[in-house]
């Protein structure tokens, strides 16, 4: 299993910056292009690349399938909980003013951040789930097959 040395080293270098970029896109979405969806996809790519270059088992040791499944559900819950919270505090569903009644603009900021976080977590979970579902069905390919 010592082949593809260059690929392995470069991947290890890249994964860190891919994740960092995903977080940047996630939390800087209010100022620059991008948001939860794009960030979720980029974050998922970091794990998928790890799974492609190393192996599915290695990737699943880092991020077990049950965690990924829970992540997919957790994101929707974060999103919906934001809405339900504002409902309980006495505003409309998903009215972000509820998060900071004195400064509505800040409330909007927090609300968008929370909601985008929910989207990002769900998208990461679903993308990695789909990848796991596809690759766990394949026999492990030897390099000659390509």
């Amino acid at each position: 299993m010592r082949h593809h040395l260059i690929l392995r080293v470069i991947t290890k270098l890249l994964i860190g910056s891919i994740m960092l970029f995903a977080l940047y896109v996630q939390f800087h979405g209010d100022y620059s292009p991008g948001g939860g969806f794009q960030a979720g996809v980029i974050m998922a790519v970091a794990f998928i690349i790890y799974g492609v270059v190393f192996s599915l088992d290695e990737a699943q040791r880092v991020l077990p399938p049950w965690v990924v499944h829970k992540m997919a559900a957790l994101g929707v819950l974060i999103y919906a909980a934001t809405g339900v919270y504002s409902l309980f505090v006495g505003y409309g569903f998903l009215d972000y003013t509820a998060l900071s009644p004195d400064y509505p603009e800040k409330g909007q900021h927090y609300g968008i951040l929370l909601v985008e976080l929910g989207v990002g977590v769900t998208v990461t979970g679903v993308m990695v789930t789909i990848y796991y579902a596809f690759t766990s069905r394949t026999p492990i390919m030897d390099d000659e097959a390509w």
């Binding site: 948001g35 998922a44 492609v52």
Partner: protein, 172 residues
């Protein structure tokens, strides 16, 4: 270049090349979207179209054969349908306003209102995010639920199949 890539996708028999070429196609359309100033959409297209779907296609490829099988029917009827649809769509674009026109319906309907209101109502510089997460929060919640449902669907279909096959093997 988009057309050339699309033709290449149709012409090649190797499915591996097809998967790679469709990734190229997505990247090119992402560039097109950047030219149209839709940076957020271009971002998504590049990440999903060129990144994830290429990987998923390769994953599917490993499950199936490497080359296309010869078509079992004549290409005349599909070609006719494609040509008619294409001609209708091109005829439809003749009515569209010119590129960058300030009086286009998209510029004069709700867009100016969002542009004016979001600065002091939301205070977020990226108006796309403001519309998506705040004004259209319900829609985005629905979209997130759709993504979640899609993931569950894939999971049920693929892992269910595996279990059934295992059962069958035990029967034999």
């Amino acid at each position: 270049m988009l057309v050339a890539t699309a033709l290449a996708v149709v012409r090649t028999q190797s499915l591996f090349a097809t998967a790679m070429l469709s990734g190229v196609f997505s990247l090119l359309s992402a560039l097109l979207l950047v030219v149209l100033d839709a940076v957020d959409v271009a971002f998504t297209e590049a990440a999903v179209g060129a990144g994830i779907s290429t990987v998923l296609m390769l994953g599917t490829l490993a499950l199936t054969r490497r080359f296309e099988s010869a078509p079992s029917h004549s290409p005349a009827i599909p070609l006719f349908v494609v040509l008619v649809t294409g001609a209708t769509l091109i005829y439809g674009t003749l009515d569209m306003p010119n590129f960058g026109s300030a009086t286009a319906p998209a510029q004069v309907h709700v867009a100016p209102e969002y542009l004016e209101r979001s600065v002091h109502e939301i205070g977020v510089p990226n108006i796309v995010t403001a519309i998506l997460a705040s004004y259209r929060g319900f829609d985005t919640l629905g979209e997130t639920a759709v993504v979640f449902t899609a993931g569950i669907g894939v999971l049920l279909l693929l892992s269910g199949l595996r279990r059934r096959r295992r059962n069958k093997r035990e029967d034999v």
